[in-house]
Symmetry: C2
Subunit: 383 residues, 2 copies
C-alpha cells in the first residue's frame, strides 16, 4: 500500500438549510475541496451519510451526488451511523492507497432539519440495536444517559464536572464561521440548561444540523512541494457490540481503544505525541470515554483533563474540539466525521486563528457510530 | 494491487423468513462461506444492504452483523440501492488487493417481507430521484415501464418477445434449491400475468424476498492448489444520471457499458470469451438493455438473443440467469449482487447440475442500482 495525503478540503456552514437539497450541500463541499486543491477531476467518490434514505426518501446517494457534480465513475455511499463520514474517508484512503486510482473525494453529508424532531429522534435511534434496545423504548440519548449515570456513580463525578467539555467546545466554536452554535456559554448556562434525558441536559448534547464536508485524497508521493498537503499517517477502524448491555465493561470504549491503537501503530506515534484531538463529543460523557480509551487519561479520570484546563487549544496538554466539536460546531450525523478531518487539516495548516494550537504537527480525529459500536480513528501529520 | 480470489461462498434460501432477523440471515450466509473455505477468522467485513434503516429501523448494520458473528474489526455497510451487494464485494476486493488485509467477507443481506407491500414499494422508490422523479408520483416499476414502452416503440418489439427472459429464468430456478420461485412457467402464464405497470406484468418483474449471500475474499497467491478457488479477474463500477429523464439516450445503459469495459480491460477478456452472464433482470427490459450495453447484442436487439434460444445454459451463445436470475431466484435488493457472485462461483466450480454451462471458465455478473444509475460488473475465472 502506498501512503496518501489530503490536498484539498471544503465544507458548508452547519445550519438549517431549508432551501437547499442534500446534493446541493454535498456539491458545495466537494467543489470547495477541488478548488482548494486546484483540481478539476477525480477518479472516485465516497459518500458518508446515515439518514438520507430514512428522512429524505433518497437512497443511492452515491449516484445522486455523482450526477450532481457531473461525474460518471465509481461512487458509493458508506454508512456506519454517526461514523459514516470517517468510514467514507477510510474507503477513499484504501482505494487510493491500493494504487487502483489516483484521486478520490470523500464527502460526508446530512440534511436533518426539514423533518419533525420526533421523526429525527426515531431516525437517530436506528444507530442503536433495533431488536434489543429500541424495542424497550430507549432513545439514543437515553442510552448515553444510562452510560453517563453509571459513570458518575462508579467514579464519583458530579454533573458540573463535565462542564469544561461543553464550555471549551462553545468557546472554540465562536471562532469557527461554519459552526452551528458559534458562541461561548457560561457555567451557569451549562448547569441550568433544559434536561433531555437525566443526567444529560441540552448543554451536554450536540445539536443536529444540515451540512457537508469533503476532502480530496491523492498519493503522498504526488504532493512534493505542496506545503498545504497533509499526510494521512494512520487510519484504524474497529467495532464493538451494538447493544450497550452486551458489553462486559460498558464504561470502556473498546472499539475506540482498538481503532486508536491501529492508527497509532500505522502512524508510528504515541498518544503523547498527538498535538490535538478532534473527538466525538456527541454527549459530554463521550468526551471523557474517548480520552480514556485513547490513552490520554486513566479509566474514570477523563473529566479531570477538562477541570485541569488541559483540553483548551491555547496551551492545554491535549486540546480537543478546537473548532467547536460536535457540541458547538454541530453534529450533522453522517457528515461529522468529515468535518473533523477538515478541521484537523485546518489546524495542521495553521489556519485556525484564535483557536490555533501552536506548532501543531500531528492531529487525531475520532468518529463514533452508535453508542460506541463502530469507531474510526485517523492520525494526520504535516509533511 | 495484488490479485484476489474467492475461496468460500454461502447463501440462505430466498424466502419470507418471518421468524428470522436480518442479522441471523447474514450470519447464516457468512458462516456457510467460512465453512466452505475451511476458515474461522477474517480481517474485515463488508455488508451490502439497501433498506434496513428504512424498513427494519436498523442502521449501522456493519456493526450489528459484526457483533452477531463475534467479530470486532473493521465492518462497514455499503449502499448503492440494488447494486449494494456488488458494491460491498468491490470494497472487499480493494481492501484485500491493497495489501492492508488478507481476508474479507462480503455479504449482501436484505429482509423485506415483514413490511406491508405499500411500505416496500415506497422504500424501493428511494432508489430513484426523490426530488425529480418520486415527487411526480412515479414508482420504481413505473420508471422501468416507461423505459420498456419506449424501447418497444423505438425498436418494434411486442410484449411477448420478452417472454424468453422470464421463461429461461424460471426454468433455471427450478434446479436451484435457494430460489424464491423454483418452478418453470409457460408462455401462456407469461402472457396472462397480472399487469403491474403497463407494459410490465408480474412475469416481467422480479419478486422481493429475504435472504443473504456471502463470499470470502483472499489474495490469489494464497490459494495454490485449491481447485475450488475462483479468481476475481475484473471489477468495474460506473454511475449515470439518477433521473432517467436526464439521459441523452435513455435506452442505453451507459454505466453498464462503462463498468463492463473496465472489467473486460482488467480481466483481459472480450465479450465473446464470456461463458455465461449473471445479469440484473429486475425487469425483463433490463435483460435486453444489459446484454446490449455489454456487447452481446446490437442496440435494440437484446430480445433476439432470447427468441433465438441463445440465453439457455445448455448450448446458448450467452447463457444468462443460470440459477434463476432476479426473476425467479428472487431479488432481495441489497443481497442480489452477492447472490449473483455466489452463483457465478458455483458455475465455475461446475456445481450447477441441470443448468451447468458446459466447460465454463469465465463468468460475468452485473448488478444494477436504480434505473441504471449505479452499475457494478465483475468477471470471475477458474484458476
Amino acid at each position: 500500500m502506498r501512503e496518501v495525503a489530503i490536498i484539498g478540503i471544503g465544507q458548508t456552514k452547519i445550519d438549517e438549510h431549508w432551501k437547499r437539497s442534500i446534493r446541493d450541500l454535498a456539491g458545495e463541499a466537494i467543489f470547495a475541496a477541488l478548488q482548494d486543491a486546484g483540481r478539476e477531476t477525480i477518479d472516485a467518490l465516497f459518500t458518508g451519510n446515515m439518514l438520507s434514505g430514512l428522512i429524505d426518501q433518497q437512497n443511492n446517494l452515491g449516484a445522486v451526488i455523482a450526477d450532481w457534480i457531473g461525474f460518471k465513475g465509481e461512487s458509493i455511499k458508506v454508512e456506519s451511523a454517526c461514523s459514516s463520514g470517517a468510514s467514507a474517508l477510510q474507503a477513499g484512503i484504501i482505494a487510493v492507497a491500493s494504487g487502483e486510482i489516483d484521486s478520490a473525494i470523500a464527502v460526508g453529508v446530512e440534511k436533518m432539519t426539514d423533518s419533525a424532531p420526533t421523526e429525527v429522534t426515531s431516525a437517530l435511534a436506528t444507530a442503536a440495536d433495533s431488536d434489543w434496545e429500541l424495542e424497550q423504548g430507549v432513545s439514543f440519548v437515553g442510552l448515553n444517559a444510562l452510560i453517563m449515570r453509571r459513570y458518575m456513580h462508579e467514579y464519583g463525578w458530579q454533573h458540573k464536572d463535565f462542564a469544561p467539555f461543553s464550555l471549551n467546545a462553545h468557546a472554540n466554536a465562536a471562532n469557527n464561521p461554519n459552526a452551528r452554535l458559534p458562541f461561548a456559554i457560561t457555567m451557569k448556562q451549562f448547569q441550568n440548561a433544559t434536561m433531555v434525558a437525566a443526567p444529560i441536559n441540552l448543554m451536554d448534547a450536540s445539536p443536529i444540523g444540515d451540512g457537508a464536508a469533503a476532502a480530496l485524497i491523492v498519493p503522498l508521493d504526488s504532493v512534493h512541494g505542496n506545503k498545504r498537503a497533509i499526510h494521512i499517517a494512520g487510519s484504524g477502524a474497529a467495532t464493538d457490540t451494538i447493544s450497550v448491555h452486551s458489553r462486559k465493561i460498558p464504561l470502556f470504549l473498546q472499539a475506540a481503544y482498538l481503532s486508536a491503537q491501529r492508527a497509532y501503530v500505522q502512524a508510528g506515534v504515541l498518544p503523547n505525541e498527538i498535538d490535538f484531538f478532534e473527538l466525538h463529543d456527541a454527549f459530554s460523557i463521550m468526551s471523557a470515554l474517548s480520552l480514556e480509551a485513547c490513552g490520554f487519561a486513566e479509566q474514570g479520570q477523563g473529566p479531570r483533563l477538562g477541570l485541569d484546563n488541559e483540553i483548551r487549544p491555547n496551551g492545554g496538554r491535549i486540546p480537543i474540539c478546537t473548532r467547536g466539536g460536535l457540541k458547538a460546531r454541530g453534529h450533522p450525523v453522517g457528515a461529522t466525521g468529515m468535518y473533523q478531518i477538515v478541521e484537523t487539516v485546518q489546524q495542521l495548516r495553521g489556519e485556525c486563528s484564535e483557536t490555533q494550537v501552536a506548532d501543531a504537527k500531528i492531529g487525531m480525529a475520532q468518529n463514533i457510530g452508535g453508542s460506541g459500536a463502530s469507531i474510526v480513528t485517523h492520525i494526520l501529520k504535516t509533511i
